[in-house]
């Protein structure tokens, strides 16, 4: 186990929120066709409110802080917030479309010691990228920004969301990432609109095409291992938990609402009314999320995939029960291994229900690659 994984496990076991994703705005200067956000401002937290939240997060033990949105740079106080966060010694990552980053902004980000900047690039073809963002020249501006950031020596990750309009462009984007000397992550995330409108899901690539994605070594690494049939779950697997949501990770919206994860819209409290640690430690919803073990899951506990499935409790919650299966993950498990899932067998299906149309509410494919981090322990004897 790497040192980073050990630390993550320790935080998980102790219930310390080691990582938080904070959206500072839902406003955006792009209008991406797949975006799930309501871009109107319904009362974002003020500068001093967010600074207060950051103080509380530092006190609660948060180390990894991701600023995201909407487009973070639409907040005029964004650098002030980042400065405050860095003064509190968070490890800061930023997700942005980068169109507002020029030389001066890139320099400032370097001075502030930002860990990574993740930028969405949809295609290596400007016309495809711009058609998805609906912002003319956004490709050019985004790529220029990446160059400015790299000139400053900053680490950049290109997140490549796959959907019908660009499903064949991942190789081109990977090549572009290599040319720009930045990391590439496949992030084919299509999530329903916040108001429950599922029409955007029709943009996602059909399930059958997942087979091709999952069997492409350029995208998944060791394909044989990745696509191996599932091993029967052990006692230990059944005692295990789904993911870090609510255990060592949570999400805070621009309005101060706290959720177990950015993709788990179960309200647990609002930071404008309660202290963060009160919500984290005492909210009945957080406690419920934290209590669910694999053996408690209604269908999944009897599924052969349960120990290797990427089952997202947030997606399962949006489908009706946080203890139920997540159809999108069933689809992934099936197309990855070819082995039917308990959810399919229960419904007498020989292949998963298609989640690419409008009929089924949810689709999410989590990133397949994460950026490698060099890890070196240092100790002096006591």
């Amino acid at each position: 186990m790497s040192l980073m994984s050990e630390v993550g496990q320790k935080a998980f076991d102790l219930g310390v929120p080691i990582a938080v994703h904070l959206d500072v705005t839902y406003r955006c200067n792009e209008r991406c066709v797949h975006c799930y956000l309501d871009h109107d401002d319904h009362g974002e937290m003020t500068t001093s409110e967010i600074k207060g939240v950051l103080d509380q997060l530092a006190e609660a033990g948060v180390f990894f802080l991701t600023f995201s949105g909407g487009e973070v740079f639409l907040r005029r106080d964004f650098f002030e917030l980042v400065e405050h966060a860095r003064r509190l010694m968070f490890n800061v990552k930023i997700k942005t479309n980068a169109v507002m980053i020029h030389e001066a902004e890139a320099r400032r980000l370097r001075e502030l010691g930002i860990d990574t900047i993740q930028i969405s690039v949809y295609s290596h073809r400007a016309e495809v990228h711009d058609a998805i963002t609906k912002l003319p020249h956004s490709f050019e501006r985004t790529i220029n920004a990446i160059r400015f950031l790299r000139e400053q020596g900053l680490r950049v990750t290109i997140a490549n969301v796959l959907m019908t309009a660009n499903s064949s462009d991942h190789a081109g984007v990977q090549k572009l990432a290599a040319e720009l000397d930045v990391h590439y992550t496949l992030d084919p995330t299509i999530t329903p609109m916040m108001d429950g409108d599922t029409s955007v899901l029709s943009l996602r690539i059909p399930g059958e095409e997942l087979t091709e994605v999952f069997h492409n070594p350029a995208l998944v690494g060791n394909q044989e291992e990745f696509c191996a049939p599932p091993k029967p779950p052990s006692e230990q697997d059944l005692e295990g938990y789904s993911c870090s949501a609510g255990h060592s990770f949570c999400y805070i919206s621009p309005y101060g609402d706290v959720f177990p994860c950015v993709q788990f819209p179960l309200p647990t409290g609002n930071i404008r009314q309660q202290k963060f640690l009160d919500i984290w430690n005492h909210s009945p919803e957080m406690k419920e999320v934290r209590s669910i073990q694999a053996k408690d899951l209604t269908t999944c506990s009897s599924c052969s995939h349960v120990s290797s499935c990427t089952r997202c409790p947030g997606l399962a919650y949006m489908e009706g029960s946080m203890r139920g299966p997540s159809t999108a993950d069933c689809e992934k498990s099936f197309y990855r291994t070819g082995v039917p899932t308990a959810n399919m067998l229960q419904q007498g299906l020989s292949k998963p229900r298609s989640t690419s149309g409008n009929t089924v509410p949810l689709i999410q494919i989590r990133p397949l690659q994460i950026q490698p981090i060099e890890v070196q322990p240092v100790e002096i004897p006591a």
Binding site: V16, G61, D115, I373, E374, E379
Partner: protein, 105 residues
């Protein structure tokens, strides 16, 4: 000849947070990640750029951890050299002010 003082300060490029008494430290320039044990954490937290290292060892380490001062000083110097090599601590023979605006993590 008077003994030379060593001053240490935390770099502004790092991120740090205590987890159950041990400090996690990450250098954003190369993403090196460290965890420090309790003694190393105490030295790191006291690295304010103004307190000489030998005073940190005497007041923070020997007092709290009941260790021999010479051994503690040698270990501390080795630790400081290692972390400064990774750009996590700044070391000088003069007081440093670079970290004056940082909070203690």
């Amino acid at each position: 000849m008077p003994e030379r003082c060593t001053y240490i300060a935390r770099s502004t490029a790092i991120a740090a947070r205590a987890l159950a008494g041990e400090m996690m430290v990450m250098n954003s320039t190369d993403s090196t990640f460290f965890t420090l044990n309790e003694v190393a954490t105490a030295i790191f937290q006291a690295a304010d750029g103004r307190t000489p290292l030998r005073d940190i060892v005497r007041d923070r380490i020997c007092e709290q951890f009941d260790v021999d001062i010479e051994q503690a000083q040698t270990d501390a110097e080795q630790f400081v050299a290692e972390l400064s090599g990774h750009g996590i601590l700044l070391v000088s023979s003069q007081p440093l002010s670079s970290d004056s605006t940082r909070e203690t993590p």
